[in-house]
Symmetry: C2
Subunit: 441 residues, 2 copies
Amino acid sequence: MAIPRDARITLDPEEIPKRWYNLAADLPEIKPPLNPVTKEPAKPQDFEAIFCKPIIQQEASTERYIDIPEEVRDNLVALNRPSPLQRAYRLERYLKTPAKIYFKREDTSPLGSHKGNTALAQAYYNAESGIHTLTTETGAGQWGTALAMVSNLFDIDTTVFMVKGSYNQKPFRKTLMHMYGAEVYASPSEYTEFGKKILKEHPDTTGSLGIAISEACELAMKDEGTCYALGSVLNHVMLHQTVIGEEAMLQMQKAEITPDYMIACVGGGSNFAGFTFPMMHEKIKGRSETEIIAVEPKAAPSLTEGEFRYDYGDTAGVTPLLMMYTLGSEFIPKSIHAGGLRYHGMSPLVSAAYDQNLLTAVAYDQTETFEAGVTFAKTEGIVAAPESCHAIKAAIDKALECKATGEEKTIVFCLSGHGFLDLYGYDQYLEGTMQSSSIDN
Amino acid sequence: MAIPRDARITLDPEEIPKRWYNLAADLPEIKPPLNPVTKEPAKPQDFEAIFCKPIIQQEASTERYIDIPEEVRDNLVALNRPSPLQRAYRLERYLKTPAKIYFKREDTSPLGSHKGNTALAQAYYNAESGIHTLTTETGAGQWGTALAMVSNLFDIDTTVFMVKGSYNQKPFRKTLMHMYGAEVYASPSEYTEFGKKILKEHPDTTGSLGIAISEACELAMKDEGTCYALGSVLNHVMLHQTVIGEEAMLQMQKAEITPDYMIACVGGGSNFAGFTFPMMHEKIKGRSETEIIAVEPKAAPSLTEGEFRYDYGDTAGVTPLLMMYTLGSEFIPKSIHAGGLRYHGMSPLVSAAYDQNLLTAVAYDQTETFEAGVTFAKTEGIVAAPESCHAIKAAIDKALECKATGEEKTIVFCLSGHGFLDLYGYDQYLEGTMQSSSIDN
């Protein structure tokens, strides 16, 4: 039952990517965001109330590569980058599949997920721009934790609006953010006008990412020294996350791995984009035939059941309108859904790529993803985040297809985070009390 | 605020140590365990009711080096070994100390602590010996988690008796062990005769490691195919943990680090032993002047306030008598103590080394160790296990001494695990509800 010592493909800190890859350069037909009031294409100044200038420039950039500041690269070491690419020998054996399964390990960050990659870049640019406070939303808590930690490194204060359902289900995420020095409010909160309005209309709501975003933006708009930071969806976030995929491409090249499938979960789309966009570039250039698969929860299936249209990023309708796959900005996933990935929309870049058939999408119910997570824990020893369990489930399904056909395909998925702070969901699954969270149930 | 990219000193999987170092070879005057009934030096067969033969041989061995089986070395890769040695640049800057601070990262294991190093070896030898079930105790939960996971890799079943106080305070540790397939009982339990006896006498007890060990041993004695596995204290456990120190010695040699201090926390002594014994060997041979410091909680201060005498390893008095520093086998730490390291005794090897002045010891109250943990999280971004916070506190104190004297000393400590499953204690600390847990308060 031993695993070969070459199971882990590592890189040196010097091999941390020197530049981010920007898919916008290779998707010329993407539609611009619209001003929420005039409905005209948004101008950079439309974003100035909530973002600092370097971030706005990156959001609109169509440059193919953007240099990563040395200070950001240095700090990526503190997030344990480069992260390993690892072969799941034991999972393969357990499944009795001829497929080779690899996973990119974003769980090795001290923050427990990939979210630090963009948190670090955003905190850096905001600090450079003289911003003293960042506000943000968080759902399952990975993003709020990441921003709270890295803001610390740049002497920036952080205020986090945490979706109330998660706030109550995951008290230790709050503890973690407190430990890093952040202020944390359950959203909707009494701390903002929009929060008060929602609480009056829906006193029992467990909240949503859309509502929390509205509250965070309201705070950023009120004060010049305060900016808003988003953990997913927007182009600059996808950009920063491409360190994952750039590392993976180098690791696959070194280990002579040619993936048949690259798989990642999608909520807003950031770990998926970061992991797959560099390979998508190769596909666009005709140099790769890898099938790229986005895996979403049936509880919030924006790609597989949403519409491709302009929609607000938040519930209050204060953000620019984004051209994206969406379930509607008023969408609130079932409260019993334990697995993150709760956002109503999808990154405009991921959406445009999906519209152009650069990826396929599949949706799973939470019970089958937790089942996959338990199999992964028993075989590989790693407790995956519920979000990541979606990718594991899809990888297992592809591996079982290979078992049926006898094909020795290569599957590479992104393990976006660990699940040490998500054991509530696993406990429900193991105790048999977890319910289906599909929107059609 | 960037940290240099050389902050992390890594090794390749091929550099995983090939042999364990056995301090017993270099401490000739250690006193043997005694049979609990006859009080005569215990014979190998006295251990056969609870341990398999290869483990008993290692327990009594005075060979200086013991080869690590290749299958164990291979599986150490799955525990993310070799683990990094990392420089705490940000902590140094925050403290404004001229000292250099390094830490050996046992938190990078998917199990979250160093405990997997011996769990793996023990599961391997038991599987080789035809054992189908392992029973054990666990306090804070690190050990039970580790054994549950690795037993899986060798198709061994696991039954864990978890100290009731922790069982109730840390329900997710139980979830984790369930996920890995283990049976978990709150100890004292109705599942054993000894558990029933204790419950009858002390129905409200929150339990202790000594009681949980008695329950686990009772099960092992009842069935031939069942053996007991201990996560600390005994010589073979210390032996298996020396992969930590052997790696650290190689890393320090490569990076030209000569430590003035090596620091680790002690409960039963295993991460301390693993981390420091290879350096202790150098001290015994006159090749090192490193000061080795053991850090214990004031809640269970066996080295600083215990007696060096023969005592039982458990509460029922069924284990052999061990020559060790002990607070008495009936000792139960205050229930408000949140930080692990709850054992009444100390590893006989660590005890003998302490008696021979090869190390110094210091004790801290839990509140000051959590304070150190929060400082570490804010600066280095890593949430340390409460146990490890004891080592951090001692390292900070030494660094502040250097600040006062201006000396540029080098401090290397062992970060024995992460604290993602111990946020309850941090929450108490941050909310100001944590009490002193010193035994004299």
